[in-house]
């Protein structure tokens, strides 16, 4: 299941939901706000989403991952609103019987979310300027 959240991402909760005693492997990705990006010192950043469409598209990605890979459960939550350095921006977790599927599905979901889900990053740099960030 894909979700967006205005509050801090509760990774403990998400990990609990992703676990399954039939599963041997669990892979998760956490994306944090870095103190620099594309050569500039970052002070804080904001993510804006088109919420309804983001949730629809995110859940489509999760369904596609379930079809493509032998995985059991998959969750992804993306934070929106104002974030500080070190805050978690995105969490992806996948459980599977075997590690290979778990690694591949986690990477797939992350890559697809970054390129397809309508969420945009606006950075404020330490020089006080801010701007919308283009995908790397």
């Amino acid at each position: 299941m894909f979700d967006i959240s205005e509050d801090k991402i509760n990774e403990t909760e998400l990990r609990k939901k992703t676990r399954d005693s039939a599963c041997g492997g669990f892979v998760c990705f956490e994306g944090w706000v870095r103190d620099h990006n594309q050569g500039k010192a970052v002070q804080k950043l904001a993510y804006e989403a088109y919420p309804k469409l983001a949730i629809k598209e995110g859940n489509k990605i999760i369904s596609q991952a379930m079809e493509k890979f032998a995985i059991k459960k998959a969750f992804c939550t993306h934070r929106v609103g104002l974030l500080e350095i070190g805050d978690m921006a995105v969490w992806v977790g996948v459980s599977a019987a075997h590690r290979d599927a778990a690694f591949k599905a986690c990477r797939y979901i992350l890559d697809e979310v970054k390129s397809r889900v309508p969420i945009w990053k606006n950075e404020t740099w330490t020089d006080g300027e801010s701007g919308w960030v283009e995908q790397e």
Partner: protein, 84 residues
């Protein structure tokens, strides 16, 4: 096909809010497709955003540029995603 008047809401996201200096427009339009609407909107902004990188949505669904606009539609223009 006769051009009828339609009341629509237009949403801009990300840097397109700066391009059009607003996040939401309500207007009455005569155009029939997303593409025609986009061309009409270009008259009201100084820059010309690279259309190939923009996605359009009608009522919370991604649509193609030749999709028809109906009365009361909410149309959104989305720059490339940059989440994660």
């Amino acid at each position: 096909m006769k051009n009828t008047s339609k009341n629509i809401t237009i949403l801009f996201f990300g840097k397109l809010k700066e391009t059009w200096k607003t996040s939401e427009l309500k207007q009455t339009t005569q155009v029939n497709t997303i593409e025609e609407l986009y061309i009409e909107l270009l008259k009201h902004c100084d820059e010309e955003p690279h259309k190939a990188s923009i996605k359009a949505a009608i009522n919370d669904e991604f649509v193609s540029w030749d999709s028809s606009i109906n009365d009361n539609d909410t149309i959104a223009f989305l720059p490339p995603a940059s989440g994660g």
